[in-house]
Structures are given as C-alpha cells and as structure tokens.
Symmetry: C2
Subunit: 132 residues, 2 copies
C-alpha cells in the first residue's frame, strides 16, 4: 500500500483512502481476510497523521469493508451480503444520474452511451478476472 494521496485535492484525505481501499478490495487486489497495514505504518508511509488513517479505517469498518481485531490489526472483510443493499442500490442510481448529465453535455446519444458503459464494464470484469 499504496494509497496515492493528493493533499491538494479538495477531497478529504480520509475519503481518498476510503475510496482507494474499497476499490482495491473490489478489484481483488486485496483478498478477503488479508491484513492491511497498521494505522501507524500506513500513516508513516504516506506521511500523514495516524488519526486520519484511523478515521478512514473506522468508516470502512462501519461500511463492512474491513474488520478490526483489537491488538491484531485490520483485515479485509468477507463479503457481508445483505445489510445496506438498498442503500448501495440508491448509491448506484445517484452516480448513474451524474453520468447521464455529463453524457448530455457530451452530446452522447443513447446507443453511444450504452456502448461506452458496456465497454467499461467489460474492461472492469476482465481485469477482475485476472487478479483474484
């Protein structure tokens, strides 16, 4: 690890960490049960305050992405499956609406947009099929 932080971004550092760890797990770069860097180690490696890492880890645990064991460390969680699914579905709809707005200004037609999305999905699952 690895999170590449941009301190000048308007996105809070702890959210950048959250996003990147979620991505890494989703891509299979981190296997379920695999150990993550400790709060202090990761803080030292990317040169930010341990409290900021702790905040990111706490949020990730709240979302069920990782599990923390006192005195042992933090680990990628197995897929929880179930709780919060409806919220995630709404999340997808929210992002999709933003995509559709951007597509309007790009003057993308329906078929054009669908083709674009499909290729992104294919690409994603292709990469995903290679790592896990």
């Amino acid at each position: 690890m690895w999170p590449r932080i941009d301190p000048r971004s308007d996105i809070p550092i702890y959210q950048q960490i959250i996003q990147q760890i979620k991505e890494a797990v989703a891509k299979g770069l981190i296997a379920p049960g695999e150990k993550l860097p400790s709060v202090r180690e990761l803080a030292g490696r990317i040169a930010i305050n341990p409290n900021t890492i702790a905040k990111a880890y706490q949020e990730l645990e709240r979302e069920g992405v990782i599990e923390t064991l006192r005195g042992r460390g933090t680990f990628a969680a197995a897929l929880s499956s179930g709780v919060g699914d409806e919220m995630k579905r709404r999340s997808i709809e929210g992002f999709m609406e933003k995509i559709l707005v951007e597509a309007h200004y790009l003057q993308l037609g329906k078929e054009e947009l669908l083709t674009m999305l499909q290729s992104m999905v294919e690409e994603w699952y292709k990469k995903k099929g290679e790592s896990p």
Copy 2:
C-alpha cells in the same frame, strides 16, 4: 426555480445548486438561451446569501453550462461541443468506477449490472424525450 436545498446536507449549498441546474438543463427543463433567475432573486427565493448563488453561477459559467451578460442576466448556454470533452469523458469514467465498486459489494454479476444500467438509461431518455 426550484433548487431544493438541504441546509443540513454535508454537500455545500453552492454545489447543490450547481448539480441541480446542470440536471435541469440536461433534462430539458431549461431550454438553451432561457433566462435564469437573477442572483438576488434566487437568493431571496431560497433564503440564502446572494454571494453563495454568485459562486454557483460563476462555477457553472466556467463549465460552460450557462452564460452571463453583464447588466442583462444569466442564461442557459447553447451546447458548446468541443472544449473540455476529454475532461467530461474522464468524469464519466470516474463515476463509472464508483458504480463498479458498489456493484462488487452488491455482488452484482456483469450481466445483472448491465441490465440495471440499461434500464436506467432507457428511463432517462424516455423522460427526456417528453419534455423538450
């Protein structure tokens, strides 16, 4: 207008305004060239500070969504087409990546996700075909 602001949201008010106006234009609820409420009028209507409206308008102009004419007002821009397209394409990719991450935790299969996205796109263009 129309922007429905949630003061308790963690999203800045000026960004809520930006998002909603972009959406309204994309949906065809605001026609190109149509006049938008003045800074002072909109500020009075939704009971927030004119400076906040001005900030949103300035950002919208920077993105090419609206045009401002000194002494006349602000108007929805015609589709610019060209400059910044590459940036918007990256924007779509960014949102799509977040969708794919969410889909992973939802345990959505590739086909399942594609079906979901397709129905959202169809729904969007259906509504859009009705208003303009």
